[in-house]
């Protein structure tokens, strides 16, 4: 079945260093949508960015990601981490492999940025 894998459960880094959160997915559907949602402490998840187009960089709020269908990846990156980036990040996949649209979330990566 479809799945989303986020290999890092917890990432801790120092303010100013680059961020890279990994996301790979598995689906038989050829045109999936990929998303990154962010959830800050005591808040609900909200969309950070999304993509549908192969090999096109998507950017929002200093973060960027590129959907690579050849490697089934959608890694999240930022050039310089800020304290306010500390949050739980979910990668998610939307496709119609089952006949109707479904959104599947990865297990999440908790990012902690230290001063």
């Amino acid at each position: 079945g479809d799945s989303v894998t986020q290999t890092e459960g917890l990432v801790t880094l120092t303010e100013g260093l680059p961020v890279m959160l990994n996301c790979t997915y598995q689906t038989i559907y050829s045109n999936p949508f990929l998303f990154w949602y962010v959830q800050h402490l005591n808040e609900s998840p909200r969309l950070l960015l999304k993509s549908f187009t192969d090999n096109k960089r998507t950017e929002h709020q200093g973060f960027h990601a590129t959907l690579h269908k050849s490697s089934s990846s959608f890694h999240l990156q930022k050039s310089s981490a800020q304290l306010s980036d500390s949050a739980l990040y979910y990668c998610a996949l939307s496709d119609r492999a089952s006949g109707s649209w479904q959104l599947i979330f990865g297990s999440g990566t908790q990012l902690t940025v230290m001063p």
């Binding site: 609900s44 998840p45 939307s94 979330f105």
Partner: protein, 113 residues
């Protein structure tokens, strides 16, 4: 204010009781969802409702049932709660299915004693 609203914020109950959670969206969206976020922060879709079509995640126990009066409301009923139902239940909505952004409500935290 346009958003997704959920009530109650918290609910504590005993095993075997019935509970109902409410969700309302004022965004004019056509699709609504219920998610369960467990203690490990795993986020799993339970139901989606679009144009009177209900999509059920096959792993959801039968004691859970969604209830919708119109496209702006999607409530969740749990007939006889069990300890493993303790979680945060998040309601969300989107314009349509597929690649549309989902907007989440603040969540209802359920504790089953």
């Amino acid at each position: 204010e346009t958003a997704v609203f959920q009530t109650p914020n918290y609910h504590v109950t005993q095993v075997g009781n019935e509970v109902s959670f409410n969700c309302k969206q004022t965004l004019g969206h056509d699709t609504m969802y219920w998610y369960k976020q467990d203690s490990k922060k795993l986020l799993k879709i339970m139901f989606s409702y679009n144009n009177k079509q209900l999509i059920v995640n096959e792993t959801v126990p039968r004691r859970f049932s969604p209830q919708s009066s119109d496209k702006a409301h999607l409530n969740l009923r749990i007939k006889s709660v069990e300890p493993e139902d303790s979680a945060v239940y998040l309601c969300a909505s989107s314009e349509d299915t597929g690649g549309f952004e989902q907007y989440f409500g603040p969540g209802t935290r359920l504790t089953v004693l």
